[in-house]
């Protein structure tokens, strides 16, 4: 397999841009220091030679289940799937009642957010890191069974995870009486069959149960009533991959990782895509200035392209202007400039891109992927697509921009059943805010239309 260089279209893909080639150490890069430079998967022997499963051994022999939960709580670890909910708090919601002994741990590996490819790297190259993270988490949560809900298109990730699970079973790291502790945990890979909405945690539960992936009403939260009505915890791949280092090396070390000023702890897989010189994915400390990510890691824009705006973390986050690159990459740092950090994988939009066309593409995606359960989302998103298409073709009508703004309001947080529609209109609202003139340019001028509709001699 070739790595480092951009692959040509005749090659299978295997690299992740420069993620494997930056300098990494266990002290500073808990997620990625074990990556091989050639990008191949790290199997059990190599993983164990690189200190793998030592955190699990520590968790099983030296820590009580409550101590593991408390450690994760104290570390300040937050969910890495985009919403950023504190992981320890989520874990703490699992029932205290010991008689509820059928519990599930689900790994959300349904990575479909446009511009997000961090979980794919972890699963393809470090499958045992995820398994170790799930093993420790399952022990803490008293889950006897886990499922990795993996999107169907991630073929290589499925192969590697299944092989790693087999290795772990053979080594007594999964199955019955793990590490002589009396604790049993079995782990399955469940592959999906498409639809972005499966990444919403309650939709994911419905999908795992073999139903249509409509989100469920909350409360009850999955911790109380989850898969098959049992207490369930759903965590993202990258979140679970943080657990071994936190347990193994401790809270004080973990809290020293982020840059000063960051309220979020630890490191984050961050990236930059678009017409930058060096598109890719890197493990960086929270609090790193977006400008450092853009200029030092992504290398700035390619020759001939000028940065127009950027998006900090996936399709569901708002657009920011070049001057906002001074913001720091952590939740509150990005909130200060008006949007969410999301997945932390940023995208550069260059001056050649028309915002109306870009938003048309994005809203087509969100409209197609709406589960159709609630009306604002099911009907509002296709409406926005219709308006954006006509604006793109220069056939918009006066009032169209106001209608789009109204849709942004009616599809906003709290007005729909889940976060799909609010995520869909976040980029739309910010695009209108910063680039209103591009939307106005799509409105057909009544006088011109009238003139061109009349016969030449009229």
């Amino acid at each position: 397999m070739s790595h480092g260089a951009i692959s040509s279209s005749t090659q299978r893909l295997s690299s992740f841009g420069p993620a494997n080639s930056i300098e990494r150490s266990p002290e500073t890069h808990p997620l990625t220091w074990r990556l091989r430079e050639d990008g191949a998967a790290v199997w059990l022997a190599e993983y164990q030679a690189k200190d793998g499963y030592s955190a699990a051994r520590k968790a099983f022999s030296q820590m009580s289940q409550d101590e593991i939960v408390q450690t994760v709580k104290d570390s300040g670890l937050k969910g890495r799937g985009g919403a950023g909910f504190p992981t320890g708090v989520k874990w703490g919601l699992m029932p205290k009642d010991e008689s509820q002994n059928i519990r599930y741990l689900l790994c959300n590996a349904d990575e479909m957010e446009p511009n997000t490819w961090k979980d794919r790297m972890l699963m393809e190259q470090l499958p045992h890191l995820l398994i170790e993270g799930m093993l420790i988490s399952a022990r803490a949560l008293k889950a006897y069974r886990g499922y990795i809900f993996l999107r169907g298109e991630y073929v290589d990730a499925a192969t590697n995870l299944n092989r790693a699970i087999e290795e772990a079973k053979q080594a007594g790291l999964l199955g019955k009486n793990i590490l002589g502790s009396g604790f049993d945990f079995e782990l399955f890979v469940h592959t999906g069959a498409g639809r972005y909405i499966c990444g919403e945690e309650t939709a994911l539960i419905n999908s795992l149960e073999g139903r249509r992936a409509n989100p469920r009403s909350k409360p009850p939260f999955p911790a109380a009533v989850g898969v098959w009505g049992k207490p369930t915890c759903v965590n993202n791949v990258e979140t679970l991959c943080n657990v071994p280092a936190i347990v193994g090396s401790g809270v004080d070390w973990y809290k020293s990782l982020a840059r000063p000023g960051s309220e979020d702890m630890g490191t984050k897989l961050m990236g930059f895509s678009g017409k930058v010189k060096n598109p890719g994915l890197w493990e960086l400390p929270f609090g790193v200035p977006a400008r450092e990510l853009f200029e030092d890691y992504a290398g700035g824009m390619r020759d001939g392209f000028k940065l127009k705006c950027w998006q900090p973390g996936g399709a569901g986050t708002g657009f920011l202007l070049p001057e906002h690159l001074d913001a720091s990459m952590y939740a509150a740092g990005i909130a200060k400039v008006g949007t969410r950090m999301g997945t932390g994988l940023a995208m550069a939009i260059d001056e050649s891109v028309n915002m109306v066309g870009l938003l048309r593409n994005m809203e087509e995606f969100f409209a197609r992927e709406s589960c159709g359960f609630c009306t604002p989302c099911r009907d509002g998103l296709p409406w926005s697509v219709k308006i954006l298409r006509s604006l793109e073709q220069g056939q918009g009508q006066s009032g169209d921009i106001e209608t789009l703004e109204q849709l942004c309001n009616h599809l906003g947080p709290g007005k729909t059943f889940c976060a799909h529609a609010p995520g869909a209109i976040e980029p739309l609202g910010s695009a209108i805010k910063y680039f209103r003139h591009e939307f106005e340019a799509g409105i057909a001028r009544p006088s011109l239309t009238l003139k061109s509709a009349l016969p030449a001699d009229a």
């Binding site: 951009i6 279209s9 893909l13 298109e153 073999g210 249509r212 992936a213 990236g271 066309g357």
Partner: protein, 166 residues
Amino acid sequence: MSQNSLIQSDRFVLTDSERSAIEHELHHYEDSRAASIGALKIVQEARGWVPDGAIAAIGELIGIPASDVEGVATFYSQIFRQPVGRHIIRVCDSMVCYIGGHESVVSSIQQQLGIGLGETSSDGRFTLLPVCCLGNCDKAPALMIDDHTFGDVQPDGVAKLLENYP
């Protein structure tokens, strides 16, 4: 009315290997309904798509109404309820691939095969579909042909790519 008469079945029978693969799948879950998506994928892998009769047969095997199986089959984008080509082309249409020029890649494929998105070429060789972000954003535009993913695809490179899929 029995399930079989709800959906017209042309005496559809699951093969032994399909049946045993689905039964194996049942062991992974607390409740047999959870195997419905896996069962649809098993049938699709063997036959390329999911014929009407399979809906009732799966329902019967795992013990849920055929209408529920159909509800699931029509919800998920990677389950095909009509015949598809020998090879599936899935073009990533995420915003990163949009910026990378995926629309001209799609046009190139459409011109060469004479089909639109969601259609199958007349020789039954290819079906062209859009797909959610394939997670190859550093190599946009990306597409998948069957289980193979390709990046940095250019409109003029499409013909050569398709050659490998007779």
